[in-house]
């Protein structure tokens, strides 16, 4: 490696950090287009806060149905009937979150990247509403699979 290569190394490293990051409108920009929540449903916001392990972007499912992708710094939401639901993301192993939802309720699920035996795991974790509302402000809308 000569001096010219070394000069470009920081640029190369920085660019790899942003590969696959969400590119949609910010939460603030997308709230105007957000559909109203039907009275009989609850809403779950799902977001991935960091770019750590950006190459790992598994599909996220709710009750076995695909609803979106775990894109770094991206968010999406799903409206669901009240009751029990299971949110999953799988790479080499499936990680699940089992939760309940009431009509009119909003819940926030953060997708956390964990070490795996061969590749990273993406783990859905329920967070406090106040924490979720604050963290999602910096995310970009990446749509849902509904």
């Amino acid at each position: 490696m000569n001096a010219n290569h070394i000069k470009w190394l920081p640029v190369l490293l920085a660019s790899t950090l942003f590969i696959g990051c969400a590119t949609g409108p910010t939460y603030q920009e997308s709230t105007a287009q957000m559909r109203p929540l039907a009275a009989e449903n609850g809403r779950i916001f799902i977001y991935r806060k960091t770019s750590l392990g950006a190459a790992v972007q598994p599909e996220v499912t709710v009750d076995g149905e695909p609803v979106g992708k775990a894109k770094p710094k991206g968010y999406f939401y799903v409206d669901l009937p009240p009751g029990s639901h299971e949110i999953s993301a799988s790479t080499e192993a499936e990680r699940n979150l089992k939760l309940t939802l009431d009509a009119g309720e909003e819940k926030y699920v953060r997708l956390e990247v964990k070490m795996g035996a061969f590749v990273g795991h993406v783990k859905p974790v329920l967070v406090d509403t106040a924490v979720g509302r604050e963290e999602i402000q910096k995310m970009k809308y990446v749509g849902s699979g509904e």
Binding site: S84, E86, E92, A93, R95, N96, L97, K98, L99, T100, A117, F118, K123, P124, V125, L126, V127, D128, T129
Partner: protein, 124 residues
């Protein structure tokens, strides 16, 4: 030999899952869940293979039912989860002024925790 990765993953998952206890009878729901209890001091719950969880002082709790292991309390003031290999939304279980475990809301099972004293004062 080509099953080796699968075996490793299965072994990893089973080693890190929180053990749950099936209830001999379902939770009996408390009819009068109106009474509000306030948590006097922070309490940290530790269960096997799960991340410790701190319940914050000042949070409000309502008794939602009773199971054989004790009284089941829930709150809207903070998230209560059993954060193990998988994550389960939960309520807390107390007996004789000790917090003894979690009640998993979806699977309706019990997770034992290290018993710690807990003070829930009636009234907001």
């Amino acid at each position: 030999m080509n099953r080796c990765p699968l075996v490793i993953v299965v072994a990893f998952v089973s080693a890190c899952s929180t053990p749950t206890v099936n209830l001999s009878s379902p939770m009996s729901v408390t009819d009068s869940a109106d009474a509000v209890f306030r948590l006097e001091e922070n309490v940290t719950i530790k269960a096997k293979h799960a991340a410790p969880l701190t319940l914050r002082a000042g949070t409000s709790w309502r008794q939602i039912g009773t199971i054989e292991q004790g009284r089941v309390f829930d709150t809207e003031d903070q998230v209560v989860i059993v954060n193990s290999f998988d994550v389960h939304e939960a309520a807390i279980v107390t007996k004789d002024h000790y917090l003894v475990g979690y009640y998993l809301k979806v699977s309706e099972t019990f997770v034992e925790a290290q018993a710690v004293p807990i003070t829930l004062l009636e009234g907001e």
